[in-house]
């Protein structure tokens, strides 16, 4: 039904365009008055009018009669036809159809760009409302300071601290891997690599960035984790098969391209005059990089790290596949820990009951995650922006 209504509306819009075009073409005679707008614009004018009426008719009839009603397509088509009939007489030589149509188009373009705001609002409200329902069942104090997370136990307990600890641990490992690797790669790419070498290295990093996280998760769970377990046991450590180390290492490799490409841009934005000044007083290239370029690029690099942290905290598939499920308040990288994203995913896969604290707790976790990443992103993006302007 809804598909047919849309097809009908699309057809009517097309017809409206054609009617306008034909009418204007018929009116435009060689000896007649000069037209303000081309015939195509007269058609577009009629089509845009029809489209607006169709949309309004559809929306109103759905709100009044309900989606499945037969009234909907009828009312929609009638509204469109009425609009065509009402606007048709205006077509003529002195009518400024182009200006009206351009105003319409501008509104449409504006509405499209406002979708970004709607999305953010949608995220905030969907997460916020369910979180409020959750906090009606569980006190925020227990949520924020509890050291037990077992939503399926009886009685359930919802203390976020073990999840925060696990998230922190895995993120820390990831950043310890990705930070040096990404930064050194970026320095080499920006300062040392010849254009040809750059042409080879950049696609390699882009390819790593393009590997889906589910693939990295598979690799972490089935290849890296067994190695670490066997290696650790050979050295005499007892290593959990879902150790934080395996998930953290692979996540670190995932973030290397992010840090390196952001840092690369930032290092390239440092003006050449700073480097030339350093070379002129006899510094070597590495001394220039360490004492001049990096300090100048520091705020940008710091924000690149913040974006990387936000990415690591929000990453889901690697940890769902390679990290543990049970909450464990531990900072030992050889033990299995769980993260916020793992819990959101496991709580919402399968049965969902929107009146139980178990399902709602996933939204509360989502709220925490969203607030945390939003803060990091906001600060980092601000810094990057300000920093770019400074040297532009």
């Amino acid at each position: 039904m809804i598909v047919w209504t849309f097809l009908l509306a699309a057809a009517m819009t097309g017809i409206a365009f054609y009617i306008g075009l034909a009418r204007a073409s018929a009116l435009r005679v060689p000896a007649g008055p000069q037209f303000h707008s081309l015939p195509a614009y007269q058609g577009l004018y009629l089509a845009s009018g029809a489209l607006t009426a169709l949309a309004a008719g559809w929306l109103l009839s759905v709100l009044i009669a309900g989606q499945a009603s037969v009234v909907v397509p009828v009312a929609t088509v009638l509204a469109g036809a009425a609009a065509i009939a009402a606007l048709y007489p205006r077509i003529g030589s002195s009518f400024r159809a182009r200006n009206v149509f351009e105003k319409f188009l501008l509104v449409v373009l504006f509405a499209c760009s406002a979708v970004a705001i709607l999305t953010t609002a949608g995220i905030v409200f969907s997460v916020l409302f369910e979180s409020i329902r959750f906090f009606a069942l569980v006190s925020p104090f227990e949520f924020l300071f509890g050291t037990q997370w077992s939503p399926t136990a009886d009685p359930p307990s919802f203390g976020i601290l073990p999840l925060l600890a696990g998230t922190f641990l895995i993120t820390l490992i990831a950043i310890l891997v990705a930070g040096p690797l990404g930064l050194l790669s970026a320095i080499y790419m920006a300062e040392y690599a010849s254009p040809r070498l750059r042409g080879v290295l950049k696609p390699v990093l882009e390819m790593l960035a393009g590997v889906p996280t589910v693939v990295l998760g598979f690799f972490a769970a089935l290849t890296v984790a067994p190695w670490i377990r066997d290696g650790g046991e050979a050295l005499g450590f007892s290593v959990a098969s879902e150790s934080a180390l395996a998930a953290g290492l692979v996540m670190g490799m995932m973030i290397v391209p992010l840090i390196s490409s952001l840092s690369d841009d930032i290092i390239n934005a440092v003006p050449q005059t700073l480097r030339d000044g350093s070379y002129a007083i006899g510094a070597t290239k590495s001394e220039t990089i360490k004492r001049v370029v990096l300090p100048a690029a520091l705020p940008g690099i710091a924000s690149a790290f913040m974006l990387a942290i936000s990415r690591a905290v929000g990453e889901t598939m690697i940890v769902v596949m390679a990290a543990g499920l049970a909450a464990n308040l531990s900072f030992n990288p050889l033990e299995a820990v769980t993260t916020i994203t793992v819990q959101i995913a496991t709580l919402l896969v399968g049965d969902q009951e929107f009146d139980s604290a178990k399902t709602l707790s996933a939204f509360a976790l989502g709220f925490v995650l969203f607030l945390f990443t939003l803060t990091l992103n906001f600060i980092a993006l601000r810094v990057v922006q300000r920093y770019r302007q400074q040297y532009d």
């Binding site: 501008l106 999305t119 290295l201 589910v214 998760g217 690799f219 590495s286 596949m321 989502g366 990443t373």
Partner: protein, 412 residues
């Protein structure tokens, strides 16, 4: 006047040069390590996944007597009993109940389906004796691939007997691309997941491309510099960095619970992915639009075009290759995305290939996630094979994007 020129200590210079070389080596080492990781990842997946593209079949001679198989209704015949009986006859030594069970477990539960399909396609086979390949079970298949541990001594002897008499054939496992998901590793395929991915990405692209390009045009060309425009820009930049799982929560709360879209369907998944890749497309399109030099637009304005005519007739066509490149990269991202789709129920076990946007579907990355969780060893190889397919598609998409960039890139 004294000599103010300080001659540097040669030892110090040598030390500084060593530090220089060391620092350079660190950089190269970091890049090499990253490259090695990527190479190892790809090699590991290819090695694991390669065997799944090959399957082993036993050659069995069966006679389709006209008494029990009717050419008019070939579907009605009991092919399963026929194949099982013939296979038992082949090994008369397996007489005890337990042995017969072991013997039959070497055949796939779908072993008779190929024969049935053959007869369906050509009913004239009925009444003739013919040698047909019947699919082996995953354990037997793994035995021939040299990685199996699921067969015992007796089964090994039977399989070796078949092999030594040339009654085993191996071939490309086309059914991996032709069938949907299954509980049996040897029968499971990715057609359902591939179709689901196609439907989902189609919805995502159909929505996010027009929306994204329109938003980019507005922000780049028409937006007044005011607070509201700033707010939109900040929003887009932040959305690009919001974790994908949050979009899953949005989809669950808004699209499923509020608007009541069907769960597990490509429509809901596509909507979520559209919102997810929208910032990527907007940012790429804006970059492409701003790369078009203002002189083009000014020339159009100079000869009397309206602002919109200048943008739509002159700036947009020149920015199109860049927009396309960004869009392809957005599609690649949508194709590899898993986490938000878990939230909206696209993780169900679905055997049928989805036929529409509102039917229950799964996508390739989610299929990979589901298979990776299964305990059977044979599924590990299937998982890696599905990853190979996904990676090949992604690499092709990226190659197209790079080609477009190279082919149409203009330096103004």
């Amino acid at each position: 006047m004294t000599d103010t020129f300080v001659r540097s200590d040669p030892k110090l210079v040598a030390k500084r040069y060593r530090a220089e070389r060391r620092f350079r080596a660190y950089g190269l080492g970091a890049l090499a390590l990253t490259g090695v990781f990527l190479a190892f990842l790809l090699a590991d997946i290819v090695v694991k996944g390669w065997p799944a593209f090959v399957e082993h079949r036993a050659l069995l001679t069966v006679s389709l007597d006209a008494a029990s198989f009717n050419a008019a209704e070939p579907l009605k015949g009991d092919y399963e009993t026929l194949v099982r009986d013939k296979f038992r006859e082949r090994f008369p030594e397996a007489a005890s109940r337990a042995d017969r069970k072991k013997l039959l477990s070497l055949l796939s539960v779908g072993a008779a389906e190929d024969l049935r399909d053959m007869v369906m396609a050509d009913p004239s086979l009925i009444g003739r004796e013919l040698t047909v390949p019947v699919l082996l079970s995953a354990d037997a298949d793994l035995y021939f691939k040299g990685t199996g541990t699921g067969v015992d001594e007796k089964q090994t002897a039977w399989l070796e007997d078949l092999k030594s008499k040339g009654e085993i054939e191996s071939g490309i496992a086309w059914r991996f691309f032709a069938s949907g998901d299954s509980r049996e590793p040897e029968l499971a395929g990715i057609r359902g997941a591939l179709t689901g991915s196609l439907l989902t990405v189609f919805v995502a692209l159909a929505l996010s491309l027009p929306l994204g390009v329109a938003a980019a045009i507005y922000l780049e060309e028409f937006a007044p510099k005011n607070r509201f425009t700033d707010l939109i820009e900040v929003n887009i930049n932040n959305l690009a960095a919001v974790p994908s799982i949050i979009f899953g929560l949005l989809g669950l709360a808004v699209f499923l619970n509020f608007f009541g879209l069907p769960r597990s369907a490509a429509l809901a998944g596509g909507l979520v992915l559209a919102l997810l890749v929208l910032p990527t497309i907007i940012i790429a399109s804006r970059a492409a639009l701003s790369a078009v030099p203002p002189s083009i637009k000014e020339a159009a304005l100079g000869v009397g075009a309206s602002h919109q005519q200048a943008v739509f007739h002159h700036v947009l066509p020149l920015a199109l290759p860049g927009i396309l490149t960004g869009t392809i990269l957005g599609v690649a991202r949508a194709l590899g995305e898993t986490a938000p789709l878990l939230m909206i129920g696209m993780v169900a076990f679905i055997v049928d290939v989805p036929g529409g946007f509102t039917e229950a579907a799964t996508v390739l990355p989610v299929q990979i996630f589901l298979w990776a969780d299964l305990p059977e060893i044979a599924f590990q190889s299937k998982t890696a094979a599905a990853i190979i397919v996904l990676m090949v598609v992604l690499i092709l998409l990226n190659a197209v994007a790079i080609y477009l960039r190279k082919r149409f890139e203009r330096r103004w």
